[in-house]
C-alpha cells in the first residue's frame, strides 16, 4: 500500500474518519411503491398509500433497486448476500410510518474496499438498502429548524431508494475524505446506480470523526456530523470539528458522543438541542417483506457486465502515460472522455497527444458532441500524428466533425483545410509578408515582437488552412534564408 502525507487537525494529532454515504438509486420508481422516483416535482404529487404510510398499505420491493445494489457491491468488491429488511423505530414527522425500513444486521453487501487515486485503500463495512424520508421545510425563524415557528412536509422523497455505503474508520484527513467521496461518486455513476448529483441531494454524506494523538492505537469518542451537502462543506466541517475536539482535549474537557450539524453559514458544527433520549430503535425483522436472496447466476451476470472502473482506468493510464498530471488524468478517465481516449490508444495514436486532445479539445466539445464518434475522433488524430494537419486545423476539424457527418477526408476538402505542405506554407507566408517591407526589415534585425504581427497577418488570410505554429516556422525559415543570402 502506498503511503501518503496526511494533515492532522493540529501538531501531533491525527483524524480518524469514517463516512456514511447515502446515495439515491436511479430507479424509475420508489423502493416499495410504484410512485415515480423523480427530483423537482410539485410537492406531494409523487405519493401513494404506501409511501404516505396510510393504514393498510404494504411495501413491495423494487427489483431494480436490488440490481443496482448488487452492481455497487461488486464494484466495491463486497460479498453479496441474502439480506433481510428490519424496521428502525423512531418518531419523526418526515417518516410516514414512524419507522424506517432498512437493512440492519444482514445487509445485501458486506465488506469490500475502495482504492483511492492516491493508492490508499479504504475499507467498506457494508452497503445496504433503505428508504429515504420526506422533506421538511421550516417556516419562520429564517427557515432554521431550531428557531422555526412550524414546519411543512413534502413526501415526494419518502420511500426513494437509498444505498448507504459505510466506510471503515480508515480515512485520515479531510482531503482524503473528499477524495473518497469523489471516487465513490465516480464508481456509482460508472455502474449506473446514481446520477451522483450532490447539489440535488442524490448523494449525502454523514461523517463520523474523532481525533487522537499520533501513535495512539485505539479510537477515541467520535462525533457524527450530519448535513454535509457538498464536498466543500465536508472538508470544512471535518477541519472545524477536528480542531474543536483537539481544543476540548487540550482543555481537559470530556468528549461526548453526539450528533452535530454543519452550519454552512456560520462555518461551525453545532449540537442540536434534541431531547435527551437514548437512541433505542427497537429493530426487528420487517414482517411485510420476505428476504432478498440474489440469484448467484444474476450476480455473475452483473459481474461480467461491470463497466471499467476509475481505478482500472487509472492503472491503465499509469502504464501508458506514467508522467501524466493528476488533473489531466482525472479528466481523461471521466466517463464521457474515456471511450475516445481508449479508441485513440487502440489505434496507436501517440498517448500524450491523445490525452492532450481529450483533455483540451474534446472536453470543450462534449456538451454538443453530436456526430463526433470515437472512430472519427481517432481518424482526425491520426492525420495530426502523421503530420498532415496542424494543431489549429485539428481544432477546427474536430469542431466541424461534431455537427457535420461528412466523412473526414471530404470534410477536410469541404473546409479547405489542405493537408500540410511546407513549400506551400512558405509561399503563403512570403506572399502575405511582401507588402510589409518595413516590418520585414525590423524582423530580420531581430525584433521578435514584429514576428507576432507578421504571423497574425498570415493567420488572418490562411488561418483555416495552416496553423500558427506552421506559419511561425515558415517565417523563421524564410528569415534565415533571407539573412543567409544577405551575408
Amino acid at each position: 500500500m502506498k503511503t501518503r502525507a496526511t494533515t492532522g487537525p493540529a501538531e501531533g494529532w491525527e483524524y480518524v474518519i469514517g463516512l456514511e454515504v447515502h446515495t439515491e438509486l436511479k430507479t424509475a420508481t420508489k423502493l416499495f411503491c410504484g410512485c415515480p422516483n423523480a427530483f423537482g416535482e410539485e410537492p406531494n404529487t409523487s405519493v401513494c398509500p404506501v409511501c404516505l404510510g396510510l393504514p393498510g398499505s404494504l411495501p413491495v420491493m423494487n427489483v431494480q433497486a436490488v440490481d443496482f445494489a448488487i452492481r455497487v457491491g461488486l464494484a466495491l468488491d463486497a460479498t453479496i448476500q441474502r439480506s433481510q429488511f428490519h424496521r428502525k423505530n423512531y418518531f419523526y414527522p418526515d417518516m410516514p410510518k414512524d419507522y424506517q425500513i432498512s437493512q440492519y444486521d444482514v445487509p445485501i453487501n458486506a465488506g469490500g474496499h475502495l482504492e483511492l487515486p492516491s493508492g490508499r485503500v479504504i475499507g467498506i463495512e457494508r452497503a445496504h438498502l433503505e428508504e429515504d424520508t420526506g422533506k421538511l421545510i421550516h417556516r419562520g425563524g429564517h427557515g432554521r429548524i431550531e428557531s422555526a415557528e412550524y414546519s411543512l412536509i413534502d413526501y415526494n422523497r419518502s420511500g426513494v431508494p437509498l444505498l448507504e455505503i459505510v466506510s471503515a474508520p480508515d480515512i485520515r484527513d479531510p482531503e482524503e475524505a473528499k477524495e473518497y467521496v469523489t471516487e465513490l461518486r465516480s464508481i456509482l455513476v460508472a455502474v449506473g446506480a446514481s446520477d451522483g448529483r450532490m447539489e440535488e441531494g442524490s448523494l449525502r454524506v454523514d461523517a463520523n470523526v474523532s481525533v487522537r494523538p499520533i501513535g495512539e492505537a485505539g479510537f477515541r469518542t467520535r462525533v457524527e456530523i450530519k448535513n454535509l451537502n457538498s464536498l466543500r462543506s465536508l472538508v470544512r466541517a471535518l477541519e472545524f470539528e477536528g480542531l474543536r475536539q483537539v481544543h476540548l482535549y487540550d482543555d481537559g474537557e470530556a468528549m461526548i458522543q453526539q450528533t452535530r450539524f454543519w452550519d454552512e453559514a456560520r462555518s461551525v458544527t453545532g449540537a442540536l438541542r434534541l431531547k435527551e433520549e437514548a437512541n433505542d430503535y427497537r429493530y426487528f425483522p420487517e414482517p411485510d417483506l420476505p428476504p432478498v436472496a440474489p440469484d448467484p447466476d444474476l450476480i455473475e451476470d452483473r459481474r461480467a457486465e461491470l463497466p471499467e472502473l476509475p481505478s482500472t482506468r487509472r492503472g491503465y493510464l499509469a502504464r501508458v502515460l506514467p508522467d501524466l498530471s493528476d488533473d489531466l488524468r482525472e479528466t481523461v478517465i471521466a466517463d464521457a472522455c474515456w471511450p475516445y481516449f481508449r479508441a485513440a490508444i487502440d489505434a496507436n495514436i501517440t498517448p500524450a497527444r491523445a490525452a492532450a486532445r481529450c483533455a483540451n479539445e474534446l472536453t470543450a466539445l462534449l456538451a454538443d458532441i453530436g456526430v463526433l464518434t470515437p472512430a472519427r475522433f481517432v481518424e482526425v488524430l491520426a492525420l495530426e500524428d502523421r503530420g498532415e494537419l496542424g494543431a489549429s486545423q485539428v481544432k477546427i476539424l474536430l469542431r466541424e466533425a461534431c455537427v457535420d457527418s461528412t466523412a473526414v477526408p471530404e470534410l477536410i476538402a469541404k473546409l479547405g483545410l489542405s493537408a500540410r505542405d511546407v513549400g506551400a506554407i512558405k509561399s503563403m507566408v512570403a506572399e502575405v509578408v511582401a507588402p510589409f517591407a518595413d516590418e520585414w526589415e525590423r524582423y530580420l534585425d531581430g525584433d521578435e515582437k514584429i514576428a507576432g504581427f507578421l504571423v497574425g497577418q498570415v493567420m488572418r488570410k490562411y488561418g483555416r488552412q495552416i496553423s500558427g505554429a506552421d506559419a511561425r516556422q515558415a517565417l523563421v525559415e524564410l528569415g534565415d534564408e533571407a539573412r543567409k543570402s544577405a551575408d
Binding site: 404510510g53 393498510g56 418518531f91 420476505p290
Partner: protein, 478 residues
C-alpha cells in the same frame, strides 16, 4: 317470505335469484328489515349504508334482466370488519384516532368481494385495532351476543360474528391474529375460518401483527365459508407476503367425505375447556369416526407456550404498526406546541387503554436489553410450536380441539383482568404462530343455551381437506 330469505345460504340465494323467484332488492329489503329489528339490540355495526346497498341491488336486478351473468356473490349482503379499508365507508378500527377517516382505496379483499357482486351493507364493530377477545375494547360501542344480550360476542371480530349470527348479514369478513375470527364465531354459533398465512392478501387490512394477521369469512354454514374463501384467496402483487398459489377449489370437494382421514384430538387443549365444551369436541370426534375417519388422541404440550410467545410477538409488531397514528397525515390531531407534544397528545387521546397496554408491552419487548429475552425467545417458541405441529401431522391429517375454552362470558366479566381475557385465545393462538389454517364449526349449545364451537386445524395449504372435514362435522352434528 322475509324470514325465509334470511334462511337461505349463498348457493340457495343464487338459485332463487337466477330463477327470478326473488329479486335482489327484495333480498336487501329483507335484510334491512332484520337490521332495523336487531341492530338496536345487538350493536354490531359502526356504519351502515342500506341506501347504497339498495342502489346496488337495483343495478344487479337490471343487469340480470338484461341477461348479464353476475358474480358468485351477487345479491349477498356482506358485513365487513371495520379494519378493512373501504372507499364507501369510514374505516376506524373502532378507534378514536381514526374517527371519520375514509381511505382513498379498498382493501384487496373488498375489491374481490365487489368484483363478485357482493353487496356491502356496513362495517362492523371490533376491539380497537383488533386487540381483544370480547369487542368490549371498541371506542364506540359494546356489541352484544345475539344469544344473550348480557354477554359478549367474542372478539375481536365480534361485530361481524354478531351480524351473521343475528342474520343481519349473510357473510361477515373478519381478521384473525390470535383467534379473532374463530373465537367470536364459536361464541355466536357461526362458522369462522382463518386461512393459511399468505392465502388472502392483507393489503388494506389495518395491520395489528403483520406476521400473524389473516382475513377470513364468518358465515352461517361451512359451504358459505368455502364460497367466500374461494372468492378472496389468491395471489395479490400488492402484498409481498401473499402466496403465489391460486385459490384452491373448496366448494366442489365438500361432499367427498372423510373416509380414511386421520384426525388427532389435542388432549391438552381439550383439557383447558369446560366440561360442556369438552363434550362437544367428543361429539364432533364421534361424528368424524362415524363418517369413516380414524380418530385418536395426541398431546401437544408445547402449544401451551404459544400464549406467552403470542403476547410478545403480537404486541411487538403492533407497537411498530401503530406508530404511524401520530396526527401528522390523517386522523385525529390534538394540539401541542411541538411535534413531539402533538404526537403524544394525539396518541394519548386517540388510543384506548388496551391498545396502549399492548403498545407498551411491545415497545418493552423490543427495547434495548430485552429484545433477546422476549422477542427472540418468542420467535424460538414459534419454531417450537411449528415443530410440535409437524410431529402431529406425521401421524394425523387434521387436528381437533375446542375453539374457545368457554362459551360467551358476561359483558364486563373479564375486562378488568387482561390476563384472564388473554387466556380465551389459548386454543386459537398456535395456528397463527405457525401460519396454518383452522376453522371453527358450531357444535351445539351449553346448558345456558350459549353456542359452543369446535375447531379443526390442518397443516399449511390443507384447506381442501379442512373444509371437507368441517362439512362432515357440520352435517353430523346438525
Amino acid at each position: 317470505m322475509n324470514d325465509e330469505i334470511l334462511d337461505w345460504g349463498i348457493a340457495e340465494l343464487a338459485r332463487r335469484l337466477e330463477s327470478r323467484e326473488v329479486t335482489t332488492v327484495e333480498v336487501i329489503d329483507a335484510y334491512q328489515e332484520q337490521i332495523a329489528i336487531q341492530e338496536p339490540e345487538v350493536d354490531a355495526f359502526l356504519s351502515l349504508d342500506l341506501e347504497a346497498a339498495r342502489r346496488r341491488a337495483i343495478d344487479q336486478d337490471d343487469r340480470r334482466s338484461r341477461g348479464e351473468t353476475l358474480g358468485g356473490l351477487a345479491g349477498v349482503p356482506i358485513a365487513l370488519k371495520d379494519n378493512l379499508c373501504t372507499t364507501a365507508f369510514p374505516t376506524t378500527a373502532a378507534s378514536k384516532i381514526l374517527e371519520g377517516w375514509t381511505p382513498p382505496y379498498n382493501a384487496t379483499v373488498v375489491d374481490r368481494i365487489l368484483a363478485q357482486d357482493g353487496i356491502v351493507v356496513g362495517k362492523t364493530n371490533l376491539d380497537e385495532f383488533a386487540m381483544g377477545s370480547s369487542t368490549e375494547n371498541s371506542a364506540y360501542k359494546v356489541t352484544k351476543n345475539p344469544y344473550d344480550l348480557e354477554r359478549v360476542p367474542g372478539g375481536s371480530s365480534g361485530g361481524s360474528a354478531a351480524a351473521v349470527a343475528s342474520r343481519m348479514a349473510l357473510v361477515g369478513l373478519g381478521s384473525d391474529t390470535g383467534g379473532s375470527i374463530r373465537q367470536p364465531a364459536s361464541l355466536t354459533g357461526v362458522v369462522g375460518f382463518k386461512p393459511t398465512y399468505g392465502r388472502v392478501s392483507r393489503y388494506g387490512l389495518l395491520a395489528f401483527a403483520s406476521s400473524l394477521d389473516q382475513i377470513g369469512p364468518l358465515t352461517a354454514s361451512v359451504e358459505d365459508a368455502a364460497l367466500v374463501a374461494e372468492a378472496i384467496m389468491g395471489h395479490d402483487p400488492r402484498d409481498a407476503t401473499s402466496l403465489q398459489e391460486a385459490a384452491p377449489s373448496l366448494v366442489r370437494p365438500l361432499t367427498e367425505g372423510v373416509r380414511g382421514i386421520r384426525v388427532g384430538i389435542v388432549t391438552n387443549l381439550v383439557d383447558t375447556a369446560t366440561p360442556q365444551v369438552q363434550a362437544s369436541v367428543l361429539r364432533a370426534a364421534e361424528v368424524l369416526t362415524q363418517s369413516g375417519a380414524s380418530v385418536a388422541e395426541i398431546s401437544l404440550d408445547e402449544l401451551a407456550f404459544g400464549l406467552a410467545a403470542y403476547y410478545v410477538v403480537a404486541p411487538a409488531e403492533a407497537s411498530s404498526n401503530l406508530a404511524r397514528y401520530d396526527g401528522v397525515r390523517y386522523g385525529l390531531r390534538e394540539a401541542g406546541s411541538t411535534v413531539e407534544e402533538m404526537m403524544i397528545a394525539t396518541r394519548t387521546k386517540g388510543f384506548g387503554p388496551e391498545v396502549k397496554r399492548r403498545i407498551m408491552l411491545g415497545t418493552y419487548a423490543l427495547s434495548a436489553g430485552y429484545y433477546d429475552a422476549f422477542y427472540v425467545t418468542a420467535q424460538r417458541v414459534r419454531t417450537l410450536v411449528r415443530t410440535a405441529f409437524s410431529r402431529a401431522y406425521e401421524a394425523f391429517d387434521l387436528l381437533l380441539c375446542p375453539t374457545s375454552p368457554t362459551t360467551a362470558f358476561r359483558i364486563g366479566e373479564r375486562s378488568s383482568d387482561p390476563v384472564e381475557m388473554y387466556r380465551s385465545d389459548v386454543c386459537t393462538i398456535p395456528s397463527n404462530l405457525s401460519g396454518d389454517p383452522a376453522i371453527s364449526i358450531p357444535a351445539g349449545v351449553d346448558a345456558d343455551g350459549l353456542p359452543i364451537g369446535v375447531q379443526l386445524l390442518g397443516p399449511a395449504l390443507s384447506e381442501r381437506l379442512l373444509f371437507r372435514a368441517a362439512y362432515a362435522v357440520e352435517r353430523g352434528l346438525r
